[in-house]
Amino acid sequence: MTAFLGLLRRDLLVAWRTAPFLLTSALTQPALVILVFGNILPRLGLVADEFRTVMVPGLMAITILMSGVQGVLMPLAADLSGTREVEERLLAPLSARMVAFERIVAGAIQSGIAGLVALPVMMLLVHQVSGVDVKPDWALLLPLVVVSGIVSAAFGLNLGTRVQPRFSGLLFAVVLGPMMLFGCAYYPWASLDALGSVRFVFLVNPLVFMSEAMRLAVTPEVAHMDPLGILAGLAVFAGLLCWAGARSFESRTIL
């Protein structure tokens, strides 16, 4: 346990030192989306007014996903590079699976913080540019952010250990991009009734549950998935991705 906490402390220190960079990369996209979709497009009459409320929790879920994936993917690239810095971690007195799990926890903390910083920024922005007020249920929000962070970081661990570094440029185009478009971030799950049973295909995407979780806590007045369904989805993805990520980390690092 000492080794686990020591590694976590090291990772948070290093993340803290690069915090301006991490936060800028996490906040730029949602801020610009709010500007365009919250102000410019409604003024042009191209987007319905309701969209301004719908997008806030969705953008928060995307921020958490991207920060979690990046928070694991970037250090993992150094770990598994030619110099194999990961050896220092693997030689610490804890199992390789715990080393993997520590990476997930560190990534989850980073992504949770990014999400919680992004929300007030977006609330302020959306109020400024479109006069819409969002009133989150903070007590409900916190635990959902934690679980969403774990799902995101564990997903990042799977990407980082299963995808060869030379293909990492493709990740955004073929994995993260489609995930965001089909992740119920820009439209609530409830509205997908229009698609009939095809909508169930969307459920293979963990971002759907994260978006709905944020919707439940940030904009409860908008139609959302059943809270039990949200929790079950998040729990299943967290468990599955942690298990698979730790396994693949172990097989990549212990020869």
Binding site: T2, R9, A78, E87, E88, L91, P93, L255
Partner: protein
């Protein structure tokens, strides 16, 4: 009790894609006593790094058993890791931390209390002459300094066993000597050290006992002196000649010559030259008889030297080839 026991270690890397399975270690056994300086000597690809990987839990053995201080490294990995430290071949210092920080964090991973961590980091920075670079990141250090920083890091948690994998590869001669002195000093203080190398002189200078490894097996094991004595004769006569009839058999029949081996490496650089290594006893008139035989064969002498056998001769005698660099 032995600090390190390796019993019938086997490691086969499974086939991956087009690459066939590789049998890197094929039944390797040795023991290292407490306080001993032990060497694994062999060419690149002999299985030394795989062996170190298995001892340090970074490579999963296919078969056999390894125990550090009596603790099985597979069954009780976390406990075993507390007792060992490794200076790897690649420089894997944490790039995001300063040298001081990475020592302190290493101590933290191993559960050292704050005061002990700080005291030890300070002492090691001083002893390894890293004070001036304590607040620099690893990338700002020379190769020799990074090597010393890795040793300082390894010593932070006071291991019972220090493993070094090819520690002087890529170092300039001065840094190499400084590293040898440092290791001798740590050994003199009672640290058990296992070193792998493909440099004969390094093994000869540092190791109290060594095993010569090739193709994943131990060919022979003993003190450097005993290994040299194991050669027939006791002296080595190197002889190059050109022209004339083949000399090998003729010279082998001479009194005082215990064995003849052709030297076959780098043939292209010595066209038309027959190069032989003779294991000889020092006898009166031996050189005379050899020279006479060379002339009788109609050959011309290019080079001749008589020397104490080196570990390299032992290696060549055992494997029939030079060390692959």
């Amino acid at each position: 009790m032995s600090t390190l026991v390796v019993e019938d270690l086997r490691k086969t890397y499974p086939a991956a894609g087009k690459a066939a399975a590789v049998e890197a270690v094929r039944g390797l056994s040795f023991e290292v006593r407490r306080g001993e300086f032990f060497g694994l000597l062999g060419p690149n690809g002999a299985g030394k790094s795989t062996t170190i990987g298995c001892i340090t839990t970074l490579v999963r053995p296919t078969g056999g058993r390894i125990a550090v201080d009596g603790i099985d490294v597979v069954a009780r990995a976390a406990e075993a890791k507390r007792r060992l430290a490794v200076v790897p071949q690649n420089r894997n210092l944490d790039r995001d931390l300063s040298i001081r920080e990475l020592l302190l964090f290493h101590g933290l991973y191993f559960g050292l209390p704050r005061a002990a961590r700080e005291e030890r980091a300070l002492r090691l920075l001083r002893e390894l002459q890293l004070q001036d670079k304590a607040d620099s990141k690893p990338a700002a250090l020379s190769g020799g300094m990074q090597q010393r920083a890795m040793i300082a890091r390894a010593l932070m948690h006071d291991p019972a066993l220090l493993l070094l994998d090819e520690p002087t590869t890529g170092l300039d001669p001065q840094a190499r000597r400084a590293l040898w002195d440092l290791l001798k000093e740590q050994h003199a203080r009672g640290l058990t050290i296992v070193l792998t190398t493909h440099y004969m002189d390094e093994a000869d200078r540092l190791c109290e006992r060594l095993a010569i490894v090739d193709h994943g097996r131990i060919l022979t094991e003993g003190t450097p002196q005993a290994l040299r004595r194991s050669l027939p004769g006791g002296r080595v006569l190197d002889l190059w000649a050109r022209g004339g009839a083949p000399l090998g058999e003729r010279l082998g029949a001479l009194a005082g010559v215990q064995g003849v081996e052709p030297v076959t490496d780098d043939e292209a650089a010595h066209p038309g030259v027959e190069r032989l290594r003779l294991f000889v006893e020092t006898q009166d008139g031996l050189l005379d008889r050899v020279l006479h035989e060379v002339r009788a064969a109609g050959a011309e002498l290019d080079h001749v030297s008589l020397a104490q056998p080196s570990l390299e001769d032992v290696y060549i005698h055992l494997t029939g080839k030079e060390l692959r660099e």
